[in-house]
Symmetry: C2
Subunit: 296 residues, 2 copies
C-alpha cells in the first residue's frame, strides 16, 4: 500500500498507489503523487516493475507517473514498460515524452475501452482483467488472478511406479495413466495441485453498481475504495464514490476472503472509524495504512 | 523547506520546494513532487500562496505543480495565481488546464527570458528579481529583497515638538524640518528606520559562474544548491551542479549572512557531511532538512 488517501493532501498518507508482487513480477497499480518516494521508503524495487495499471486520470491516481517514469529513465532503464489505462491517459504519456525524449526505454501504452470485463494481460500463470467502473470519467478496476496450476506428481510416486516422462506428462495434464499391462495409476493417487489459484481485485474509484458482486465473486482479497463514512452517503452518491457500509455489503454478497479499504476522505482521516463501520457488516475488513503489506 | 532532495527519490526527503512568507504574503519557490503534502504537514497555508516561482522544468522542481494546482481548485479557490518561470513551463501549465478546464481561478503565467538579473515583481515593500543560472536548460534563481522602508517618527517627538502632518511627512521622507522661526528639527534626532531591509536568494540548480558573488553580495540568507560533496567535483561540473566547497566559497566571497544548502545527491543523503564541508570555509552554513524553518 503506497498511498491510501483520496484527493485532498493530508500529512499522514499519499494518494492512491499500490505495488503488487506476483510470481516474482512487480506491478504498479495507480500512481498518485509521491508513489516513487513511497516505493523507496517501503522497499519496493522500482526498476523491477514491468507493468503499470492506471484506473483513471484524476490527479490523485496519476500525478506521480511523470516522476516515476523519469526515475526509471535516470536509473538507466532499458527494459520496456507496459502501461494500461483509459484512452485519455494517452495524451499525458505523450506529453511526458515530449519533454523527455532522451529516455532509454520503450513506453508501451495499452489504451482501454471496455464495456464489460475483459482479459488485458495473460501469461502462463496469470491473467489480468480490466473492469469498467462508474466514476464519471472513464475508470477501470483490475482483477488479477492466478490460473489453475498444472498438477505436480509426487516425487515418491515417480520412483515407486517407475513413471516415464510421457506418463508424468499425462498426470500433469490431470489424466490417469493407463499402462500396457492394463493397470491404472489414478491421477488422484499420485498428483496434487501446488497451490489453489489466488485472486486480487483493485476497485478505486467508483459508485456502487449491481454487477460488482458477480464480478468480484469469491476473490481472495478485494481492495475497494470506501471514501466516505456511512453518514455521508448522499455525498458519496453525488461524487460517485462508495461508503464503508456499501463496500462491506458488497464484500459480504460477493463472499470475498478479505476486504481492504482506503481512499479516505480528508474530512475524517482516521482509518479505524472506516474499519469499524465495515466490520459491523463484514468482520474481515482491514483499513489500509501507507506501508501496509497484505499477503494473499 | 518543503523539499531538500535532488532528483532521485529518497525515503527521507522530498525534491525541491520552499515556501517563503514575506509581510503576510506566501510564495512558493519550486514545486517538486510531494510539495503540497509537505505544506499540509508543515503548516504552510496552501490557499494563501499567491505567487509561484519555478526555477526550471526538470521534474524534481516541477512535478508537484499539477497536484498543487488541482488542490487549490478543489478547495474552491477564486483568487488568481501568478506563476513565474522559464518559457518552457508554459506548455506544462497549458496541458494541465486542458485536463482541468473546470478550475475556478485564473492561472497567470509570466514567462521569463532574461540574460541579466531583472525585477519581475515589485510591490511597495518588496522586489523580486529573476537571475539567469547555468544549468543546461533555461533556469532562474530568484532574489527577494525588501525595499528601504520610509522613516518612522518617534511618537514622543510628535508631542514634544507639536509636529504638523506636513512636518511629519517631511521627516518620513528623510529630510530635516526647517521651521518659520529658523529652528531645525534634525531627521536624525526624531526619525528611525523600522527595519533594515532583508534579502533572500534562491539558487537551484546551477554550475558556479563568475557573476554569482556580485549578484548575491551581502544577502542575508543565500540558499544555494550543493548537490555534491567536494570529492565529486568532476561529476558536478559535468552535470552543471555545485559542490559544497564551491557554494561555501561563493558565500564567503559574497559576504552573505547565512548559507543554507540542500539538493543533496542520492549518493550521500546525510546532510551533516555536506554541512561539515561547507563550514570548513564558511561557518555560517546550515544544511537544510525537510520542515526546517529559517528566519531572515
Amino acid at each position: 500500500m503506497l498511498g491510501t488517501a483520496s484527493a485532498m493532501p493530508v500529512a499522514e498518507r499519499n494518494p492512491s498507489a499500490q505495488a503488487l508482487s506476483v510470481h516474482g513480477r512487480y506491478f504498479l497499480i495507480d500512481c498518485g503523487e509521491g508513489a516513487q518516494r513511497a516505493m523507496v521508503r517501503f522497499g519496493v524495487p522500482l526498476q523491477r516493475i514491468d507493468s503499470v495499471f492506471i484506473s483513471h486520470v484524476h490527479g490523485d491516481h496519476v500525478y506521480g507517473l511523470d516522476g516515476f517514469l523519469s526515475t526509471l529513465a535516470m536509473g538507466g532503464r532499458l527494459a520496456p514498460l507496459d502501461v494500461y489505462g483509459p484512452r485519455n491517459l494517452g495524451p499525458m504519456l505523450k506529453f511526458f515524452l515530449s519533454y523527455n525524449e532522451w529516455i532509454g526505454f520503450e513506453l508501451r501504452f495499452h489504451p482501454l475501452e471496455k464495456k464489460v470485463p475483459e482479459v488485458i494481460l495473460e501469461t502462463k500463470s496469470l491473467e489480468v482483467l480490466a473492469l469498467p467502473l462508474r466514476h464519471g470519467v472513464d475508470t477501470y478496476g483490475y482483477l488479477f488472478r492466478e490460473k489453475e496450476p498444472p498438477w505436480n506428481v509426487e516425487k515418491d510416486a515417480i520412483e515407486k511406479y517407475g513413471l516415464s516422462l510421457t506418463e508424468i506428462g499425462t498426470l500433469k495434464r490431470g489424466e490417469d495413466v493407463l499402462r500396457p499391462d492394463g493397470s491404472v495409476i489414478a491421477n488422484a493417487d499420485v498428483a496434487y495441485k501446488p497451490f489453489v489459484p489466488r485472486s486480487y481485485a483493485y476497485v478505486s474509484d467508483t459508485a456502487p453498481f449491481p454487477e460488482e458482486a458477480a464480478w468480484f465473486k469469491g476473490v481472495d482479497v478485494l481492495y475497494h475504495e470506501a471514501t466516505f463514512l456511512s453518514e455521508y452517503e448522499a455525498e458519496a452518491q453525488k461524487r460517485l464514490h462508495t461508503t464503508t457500509l456499501q463496500a462491506a455489503r458488497l464484500a459480504q454478497e460477493a463472499g470475498v476472503g478479505k476486504l481492504v479499504i482506503a481512499h479516505y476522505s480528508s474530512r475524517n482521516t482516521d482509518p479505524s472509524c472506516y474499519e469499524a463501520e465495515c466490520r459491523s457488516i463484514f468482520p474481515e475488513t482491514y483499513a489500509a495504512q501507507d506501508g501496509d503489506v497484505f499477503d494473499i
